[in-house]
Amino acid sequence: MNKNKNKWLSLLCDYGLLVVLILIILIVSLLSKEFMTVDNMTNILRQSAVIGIMAIGVTVVILAGHIDLSIGSTVSLAGVIVMSFVNNYKMDWTGMILAILAGGLVGLVNGLIIAVINGRTCDSFIITFGMQTAVAAVALIYSGGKYMSGTGGGVHSLLGKGYLPIFFFLFFAVVLFLVMRYTPFGRTVYFMGANTKAAKMSGVNIKFYTTMLFVIAGVMASTASVILSSRVNAASPTSGKGYELDAIAAVVVGGTSLTGGKGGIFKTVLGVVIIGVLGNALNVMNVTTYPQMIIRGFIIIIAVVLDVSGNKLKNSGVN
């Protein structure tokens, strides 16, 4: 009996968010008939794809206990790179590859700095903040500060169309989910997050792993940027401003702990969808901008309060 109760409790704590999501969807469907349509559901997923791809990338970093604040600027930089190639030279592939590589490079620099100075997890916060400023500047310098509209027509302009953003989001989510859950690499990242020193003494090459994690986050961010610029058919050197906080908010709402070692890609996908559904629901119900901000702020807090107290309950309840 007691054992059963514990099992339910632990299930509820693990999937409580799913329940919350379903509840939100039910309530909003009752309030608005436009909400619960296939079109709108795909609409939500499509809107969430960009932040979603960034969020799953940064989840990997967060699982290891670090954080990456530079991904927003990476979006800006990759956006202007791909757009400049698409527009000026009609070289979609080159542009996309270079943009994604640029994201990887930003991640590499982040990772190398943190690895070389043996940065603790709190140091990544300020180092990547410095990177955020610097990379945003690079995007401005590269683009001359200019807005770039796409002329369309090439491969690049197709990526953001139809179901493709959703496909990319789910594809990367599934791949990273499998990597994090079923490969030695993923397990090692979790171990690093749970106890970095122990991981080091167990023969994990911390410097290598740290670098790799930031590269993953950077590549995911620039990939998101390629899709974003295709979707809106434009890029500006400030287009990713503030996106890092949206992505991180999605990660924590999903229930991945910022201290590392706990959480996962699936949770992040849930977090992304919850935030997406909420934003859409508020728009569909015609709630104006400022009340929306207030509600969004509280949602982040409430989700994490529920998650943290759920975990406490679980930890005291597990045998």
Binding site: G145, Y147, V232, N233, T238, S239, N283, V284, T288
Partner: protein, 315 residues
Amino acid sequence: GGTDQTNSGADTQKTDEGNAQAQDKQGDTEQLNIFFATAFMTVPYAAPMNTAMEEYAKENNINLQMVDGEGDSQKQLDQIKNAVTQGVDGIIYWPADAASTIPVVNYLAECGVPYVVLNSKVDASVQDKVPAYVGLDYEMAGGISGDLALDYLKDGGNVVVVEGVMGTEAQIGYLKGFEDKIAQNDKIKVLAKQSAEWDTAKAMKIMEDYITTFGEEIDLVYSEDDGMYQGIAAALSDAGLSDKIKCVCNGQLQFVLDQIESGVLLGASSQDPSVEGRTGIEVMHKVIMGEEVPEWTKIDCRLITPDNVNEFNGW
């Protein structure tokens, strides 16, 4: 007031004579120092503006220094104070928001360095201290778009609005001008207004959600600027509604011109950042040279239609 003068991209040459005079006056050796305190240097709109200013400065042997106020009015005040300390000949001031201009204008009036306000007006309480303002009449621009809407929706219809950052002079003016016009036809109804904060991606999301909520009930979208229109256009074309739901907007981004030309976009009110920048520094130059300038030099704003689209330079 009555001294308004209009300046447009087409006729910038006519002031070249004035420039020549100014150069004579200052001689070849002495360089003028002009300081440009921008509200936001990193927004895309600022880039062509800066370029145009720099070009003018080069042509006229002016040393132009530009700083980024990052939207922080206090920072702007300090930057301007620093500039005065350095001893510049003139200051071009693009205020972050109207209300915060009071101490800046007070300070500028006191220290005696000639200055010009650019792009956004100052607070009404200090308006009379400002010697020269260069900027668009946003209300008029909104009105131009409003006229277009009025024309398109003769039989009435539903409008949705995508707004810029709330509280900025542009947002207030663009909205008022537009709403005043469409109020003339009481069969036109505004279904919803949301702010996308001048951001393309946000505008796209809002448009998608409008489509979800209202679907083909929408007859017309009003986008307060051209960058946001880009996102709206993407959303409409994704939904296959480009033909059914039409748009009007303000601004002359190259994309907007292309869309007008191809008939997707009904039309737009023009706003050229290069002209704005060039006019700004030109007026500043005149003020330094002691020439008469109007209180408000209005930046040319006309309706762009498929017929006249070739007259405009996109940015």
